[in-house]
Symmetry: D2
Subunit: 345 residues, 4 copies
Amino acid sequence: MSLFLCDYAEGAHPEIMKRMEQTNFEQTYGYGNDPHCEKARNYIKDICKAPDASVYFLVGGTQTNMTVIAAALRPHQGVISPDTGHINVHESGAIEHTGHKVLACPTPDSKLTGDMVREVGRADITNHTRTHMVQPKMVYISVPTEQGVMYSKADLKDLRAACDEYGYYLYADGARLGYGMMSEGADVTLADMAALTDVFYIGGTKVGALFGEAVVITNPSIAEDFDYIVKQNGGLLAKGRLLGIQFETLFENDLYFEISKHAVDMAMRIKNAFKKAGCSFLIDSPTNQQFPLLTDKEYKAFEGRCELWGEAMDGFKAVRFCTSWATKEEDVAALEEEIARVCAR
Amino acid sequence: MSLFLCDYAEGAHPEIMKRMEQTNFEQTYGYGNDPHCEKARNYIKDICKAPDASVYFLVGGTQTNMTVIAAALRPHQGVISPDTGHINVHESGAIEHTGHKVLACPTPDSKLTGDMVREVGRADITNHTRTHMVQPKMVYISVPTEQGVMYSKADLKDLRAACDEYGYYLYADGARLGYGMMSEGADVTLADMAALTDVFYIGGTKVGALFGEAVVITNPSIAEDFDYIVKQNGGLLAKGRLLGIQFETLFENDLYFEISKHAVDMAMRIKNAFKKAGCSFLIDSPTNQQFPLLTDKEYKAFEGRCELWGEAMDGFKAVRFCTSWATKEEDVAALEEEIARVCAR
Amino acid sequence: MSLFLCDYAEGAHPEIMKRMEQTNFEQTYGYGNDPHCEKARNYIKDICKAPDASVYFLVGGTQTNMTVIAAALRPHQGVISPDTGHINVHESGAIEHTGHKVLACPTPDSKLTGDMVREVGRADITNHTRTHMVQPKMVYISVPTEQGVMYSKADLKDLRAACDEYGYYLYADGARLGYGMMSEGADVTLADMAALTDVFYIGGTKVGALFGEAVVITNPSIAEDFDYIVKQNGGLLAKGRLLGIQFETLFENDLYFEISKHAVDMAMRIKNAFKKAGCSFLIDSPTNQQFPLLTDKEYKAFEGRCELWGEAMDGFKAVRFCTSWATKEEDVAALEEEIARVCAR
Amino acid sequence: MSLFLCDYAEGAHPEIMKRMEQTNFEQTYGYGNDPHCEKARNYIKDICKAPDASVYFLVGGTQTNMTVIAAALRPHQGVISPDTGHINVHESGAIEHTGHKVLACPTPDSKLTGDMVREVGRADITNHTRTHMVQPKMVYISVPTEQGVMYSKADLKDLRAACDEYGYYLYADGARLGYGMMSEGADVTLADMAALTDVFYIGGTKVGALFGEAVVITNPSIAEDFDYIVKQNGGLLAKGRLLGIQFETLFENDLYFEISKHAVDMAMRIKNAFKKAGCSFLIDSPTNQQFPLLTDKEYKAFEGRCELWGEAMDGFKAVRFCTSWATKEEDVAALEEEIARVCAR
């Protein structure tokens, strides 16, 4: 039976596997200094409309977050994050390991707003003991959030404005960026991401690649000596061309967007199946992650194929069903039937 | 006019100044290997009824906190703290600088309870993604808290029990320990502190000394190579005997307790003056810090002599009046009159 | 024309590519909790004759070194390394970034000896200011060294004995371990590595894999919570099965050894060609790296295909020719002819 | 019998003790925001002819070194130091604890030269793998060195020039700066120190104060947010005025220079006594530290009163005799006699 546990259960999109195979015996320089990385960097700069951006390829998300933050901040500076942010919850303290405090903000729906940032900023600059405190300097958001909620272009503009008011960097973790951009109602493009943040990354691991995240830095002060910082954080892949090949494949013909769209379509079918069966949701997500609230008995039926996310109110369990580029239509069809059968209320 | 801003506005108790003067030309070894430190360590071990404890002298509180935590934790481990805890708020990220996350807990009154610790512990051990999270390993409390609230012996026993259930160290920051132990209703002794914590410190900076904190370590696994960690954190005073002399003076004849008692007595007079005038308080503190709620007009009358702590509800300002070993009776008498005059409602 | 610049110029051994392809649509749990990792761990424990060892898979060498060292050491402890060691020279300060000093030892030939370790140990324990110094606690060696020199079993036994005398961990970086074990005269097996070190890693990146290093930990105190430390250092691959599949392929049928042997054979042909042409060498390496000394004119002929290693005495340039599992016989044959032609003296 | 073990064996100069006493009951703001610190900062800026410098007071030398270096460097940057430098040898890895590698240079006489710096710089910028290495960014020297050797103004100008060529900061540790400036033949003033370095500190602990080091920062990029960095490193003294009072006393009437001169005079008498007795020296020091080479029998006579520095050639022991502001003439006279008696050859 098919799993909907996460979006990294399979290998890579077949087109990527083919390219890996085709280029396997090419001899290239290491560490990202190869024609594939060069090409991929150019594709990404083009689509981001950011010819002066610096693009780096790293292997995974935690690694990318710790590297970007270490590159951007001085020792006494911290990073504002929704309290549900990946850096605050699920990185085993990687950010603190590089010396920086995560300044966690509660949010109603996992999204940070400009006003939340302004509140932190105002509290900081008006505090007469501020030199005894961590200095906020960067805002971290996940686009979409870990709970599948997408930022609008207006949201990002507001965050950008707030960051400019207080001199903060804006950093977006795009582990699932494709699934956000392709969600219904989304109006954010990669060019918007590049224009509105100082640095963000385009996730590959969860969106078609075997692994890999493409960091796009538009603020030169973060880009300075970034390659040293990557190496120092253990994020420099010897056979860097593996990253180049994958992002080249994803971005030379809109493959990244197509497969993201597919995942979202599949998620919407699952969402609707649960809706039709009368289920509520922990949060209203338009992206590839769906969080229906199930009874114990219902959950049992799906156990092992979806992730138990937490206990919700009234004895319901919040569970996560995740689709990806690899989700098969026939598996979703079977799941739809099963949902109708199991959850009919 | 006399200030009630903080408890570190003056130098040291005259007895300490005298001893410093008397011993000034003694030649001793450096770094705490001198007869004064030896004597002070013995006094402290005696009064703590902890003959096997290790006692170290450091210069200041932030330094002590970062050193103790760095000595105790492995890189992936974090320290549970009330969100009002000094390490979470007022150390410019010193703990994160040593690589560790502060796991901040909201509390109603600045005190951590055994059940709050148990909740963190239970959440940790039942989380299937726990290896992606910071591992709780130490509990940090301030005795009394930064808001002047004192733990009872029963409170500490409950925390000890909770720590034992989950394998956590219990660490108490005693920057104002004397003022807590001498507060009305307090039932905690230094021997209790030694018996119930793995490590705690007896604050000197705010309680009669020019500077200095005495760390008492009863858990040998934290004591191992502690001297290296002190040196590495820049906390080893060359003329270590200065610390020895001060703690020798404070503990050879109960001076520490007497001067703490004096500060608390003075604070209670101030508290009662505000009460009599009809003022409410931010929090009910039995120690040397008092937090009356004042109107703007009332605050203006005291501005510069007390610390503005924050905006309270209904337009009141929370302010802090602080006494210390150095507070003079005549200054308190004058303040009592002034309070009666200014705050009469 | 074929390159001999490094041993990470190509992708992976075709058998690995095939397995990746075959398993591409399997759905597995992430982070190394999959059947391929399980199988690979078992193969490795078997061949290491270390049933109780803990085996972890990481992506790259620098990442592995920083993770192992961070897991093993307390903050004030340092790691003894030959001054030519990768951690001392080529990791952009990754070890210092985790807080630890590399205690660099000069060596005549890039190999550390038991007596060098003993000298550090003796100097440490007899120094009356030792608590003001970094405490040596781990010995780091590369097997074979970065200069292609191999340790014998007797060498390792001597290092083990020295480490035991002073209470040090022995850690071996095996980035090119296969090429060392398969070199002429080598008498070290994986079982020896496991028996004589506390922790070592079997390099995949340079020996047939796309990427990946297998860490084998035999000392339980280093293994404790190692998974947290991997995550914290950004070394946990989401699709962990990619590492499992590769090491499964390398170790189920001795592929690792066969392809290592091939690389060494090719290197020996290059070595002999230079010898026959009358060239000297920077160092006498029996492994896949060869360091002939060339005149400027000779170097020009090979420029871009070998790595310039440094200036040697008498105006000669030291250059590195590197073979790997991917080196083709016909390319070596062509190189032999070219060497004879270019370097004839 | 009087000790010559170190220059921190006594308390403070009587004038400082008097001022401490006189000001003991003044009420001041904490953390260095008091009139004494203000006055002391102004004295120092005046004498340094550096009206735009930022002056901070810290408690000890290791603390100062770690704080300055943490403030100045980005994570991948390291600090060039003579291998005998305090930061490389005697700070328990404090610099590495803040994440930075000490790039140790061998020197013949404990002094770094411009050409040594240039060699490091040249090697760095010509290395094609430099992004895999630590980036040199700061040069650390001790003025005078730990071995008592003094830099000339020409030496410092040469270092400054070398630093400018490679874009490095120049940082001088002045733990014993007074004893260096007052040594025979010295031509360096505090104004020179301020003009030729980016940051340096004037040592108080070893030169008349109970404790305290005054950091003078002339490069604004190091001064930015320096107060946060001090707090984060545990170096912010609550009763900061204690530092202000001491440096005020030392610098309002040339006391710092007078007492330094006294220590050097006393050291010269000791030096001459050993010379007259026929002894050689480990190094020729014009400052308050003298390193005669003694036979075992001679050493026994002084054991416990001087520091054993190491074993020198031909079976001699190198020992350190140290004078300070507190050294008494009668004790030196007695020592002269003793030297003549014990060491006559």
